[in-house]
């Protein structure tokens, strides 16, 4: 088994768990959003890694190329990056709105206390 050779898969799992931990353990909503970002980005790293082909070059038609990397996972992940950006945008917009409504973005402070009246 080639443990070291697959280091990017190890990094993907470790990154993902760091992000997951932040989402669960951090009370601050922005930190949760950062954790969520890490979590998703780790999945992108995984997708990009599976497109790797030994000795493959960028998948652009080129006379000297022997092998090409698999472009499909890369294209897929472009779509997933767009999805992730929109999720982040909605999440941050929600955090701003929560701050307006509750005056705080610490979830442990918000959940116990009744929200301030707004509008």
């Amino acid at each position: 088994m080639d443990w070291i050779g697959h280091y990017n898969y190890w990094i993907y799992v470790v990154l993902m768990m760091i992000g997951f931990y932040a989402v669960i353990a951090k009370p601050n909503l922005v930190k949760k959003v950062i954790g969520l970002g890490l979590f998703q980005t780790a999945a992108f790293l995984f997708y990009i890694s599976i497109g790797m082909v030994d000795d493959g070059t960028a998948p652009i038609v080129w006379g000297h190329a022997v092998r090409y990397s698999n472009p499909l996972p890369h294209v897929l992940i472009l779509t997933a990056i767009v999805v992730s950006v929109s999720t982040m945008a909605v999440a941050l917009a929600l955090v701003v709105a929560i701050h307006r409504a509750h005056g705080s973005i610490e979830s442990n402070l918000i959940d116990g206390s009744p929200p301030k009246k707004h509008e």
Binding site: L36, A43, I50, S86, A91, I98, P115
Partner: protein, 496 residues
């Protein structure tokens, strides 16, 4: 020409609608657009279902790219039925939304509401129709992101927190699905569902495939809100605007169940899902606990909207129970309950929305004596409640009956008892509302309350009547569900 492009049109029309809606200004324009779009989609999905029932599975190559290279839209009996559910419920809810949403959402936000609303429907329809695993993930996120927006538009400030929690859990679930699909691609080199099914046939002992299975089932269960992954549901349903709650309860979780069915049966197949990995045991356990715990939690709620949300968790348990029985009757019961629960929960949430429209509250104490002031609304609620309990001549009875038959067929008596206990618990929580509304003297402040306007009552009653109709004439629902269950099992490798 239009006939050939039916599958694409069902997704493209609401997508275009979502883009055009914000351009139509602050008046009723966006609502009219949503109404036209949803009724067109309903007509098209009806047409598609008749066509599939007559000619069998339809395959559509999106953009003319031949599958498995291109994205395929594949319509069989199962997803034609789910498409019809989503289209029908969204058409009725859109009619209802005009008055209800105008009252709950600021006028300057209305056009964006309808944009997100149509986008959500686009996503749900797309998930159902697509035959490509990655496409499913993208459409899932389209529907989820617009759902977060819709939930956040609720009137109370708690709606924001509910939406944020839903966003976090929903994104984790979707990312699990993404990773699972990545593993499948890694193992098989394809994303087309039919192709995946063929290539996974001999790979049930591959560890990558097994990890993919775990990721995908957990991701789909989060979307479905199967116990214990239901934490996002009660708050999201309670604080979302009335029309949105009805739409979500009736369609979003049903599409989640569809994803589970599609992956368990069509893609992974019986051998891998149930013989090797015993997913049925896990799902049966989770579903049984969901039925009991969801019903018990529902009894303890003072907010009727939250009560119905917990009841949804229990009802999702019934759907999952049917799926996990892995027999023709069980699977038919699950698919049937998917259809029937959409009808009953939408009717109940719409009736409750009528109450919220008049008294701005859904707390059970504020309902005291209201049945005399709003007789039609509470008659609708009671009828929906009877269906939820499973009284004969309602849809609820039909699906519970099939579910019971399926458990007895297998000789699993404890499950039959759980189903009956769940129904009895439903009697308790529905009765609490009925008692408050019919048998308590009205408060002084309730004197000035009138019946809800016809614009809200008509869509609600349309669904109530559908509940009764499909409780008596079961040809469409039972016939299609049984045929879909047979086809699923046959494609998944025969009856176990």
């Amino acid at each position: 020409m239009i006939g050939d492009n039916l599958p694409a049109l069902i997704v493209v029309i609401p997508l275009l609608g979502a883009v055009i809606a914000p351009l139509l200004g602050r008046g009723q324009g966006p609502w009219w657009l949503a109404t036209v779009v949803c009724s067109t989609v309903l007509a098209l999905s009806g047409l598609l279902l008749t066509r599939v029932l007559a000619h069998g599975t339809l395959s559509y190559a999106l953009g003319g790219w031949v599958p498995p290279i291109g994205i395929e839209y594949r319509v069989d009996r199962l997803n034609a039925l789910v498409l019809l559910i989503v289209a029908a419920i969204s058409a009725v809810v859109t009619l209802y939304a005009r008055l209800s949403v105008a009252k709950e959402i600021a006028p300057e936000r209305l056009r964006f509401f309808y944009s997100a609303y149509l986008m959500c429907i686009t996503g749900l329809l797309g998930i159902t129709i697509t035959g490509d695993a990655f496409n499913l993930y993208v459409l899932l996120e389209i529907s989820s992101i617009s759902t977060y927006i819709l939930v956040a538009l609720g009137r109370q400030p708690q709606a924001l927190r509910a939406s944020f929690n839903y966003l976090v859990l929903g994104t984790i679930g979707a990312t699990f699905l993404l990773i699972g699909i990545g593993y499948l691609y890694l193992a098989t080199g394809t994303l087309n569902m039919t192709d995946l099914a063929v290539r996974l046939g001999e790979m049930s002992h591959n560890r990558t495939v097994r990890s993919a299975f775990a990721f995908i089932i957990v991701g789909a269960s989060l979307k479905l809100a199967l116990f214990p992954l239901h934490a996002w549901l009660p708050n999201a349903y309670t604080y979302a605007p009335s029309a949105v709650t009805a739409l979500l309860a009736a369609t979003a979780t049903k599409v989640g169940a569809y994803i589970l069915l599609r992956f368990l049966f069509t893609i992974f197949g019986l051998e891998l899902s149930f013989a090797t990995l015993r997913a049925d045991v896990v799902i049966l356990l989770a579903a049984s606990v969901a039925v009991i715990v969801g019903s018990l939690a529902a009894i303890r709620q003072d907010d009727v909207k939250r009560m119905l949300a917990y009841s949804s968790i229990a009802q999702i348990g019934y759907i999952a129970l049917g799926i996990a029985l892995v027999s023709v009757t069980g699977l038919s019961a699950g698919i049937l309950h998917l259809f029937n629960h959409a009808l009953m929960k939408a009717a109940l949430f719409l009736a409750l929305g009528c109450v919220a429209y008049r008294i701005n509250s859904t707390n059970i104490r504020d309902l005291h004596g209201l049945a005399r002031r709003m007789p039609w609304t509470f008659a609708a609620f009671t009828a929906g409640g009877l269906s939820l309990i499973g009284v004969p001549l309602t849809t609820g009875f039909i699906s519970k009956w099939y579910l019971l038959r399926a458990t007895i067929e297998r000789g699993w008596w404890p499950l039959a008892i759980i189903i009956i206990v769940g129904s009895l618990l439903a009697v308790v929580y529905v009765w609490r509302v009925v008692e408050a509304a019919y048998f308590h003297p009205p408060a002084e402040s309730a004197k000035a309350i009138h019946e809800a306007p016809a614009g809200l009552l008509l869509p609600t009653w349309a669904l109530v009547l559908a509940n009764v109709y499909f409780g008596i004439d079961t040809q469409l629902s039972v016939g299609t569900a049984t045929a879909a269950a047979r086809a699923l099992l046959a494609a998944a490798g025969g009856t176990p």
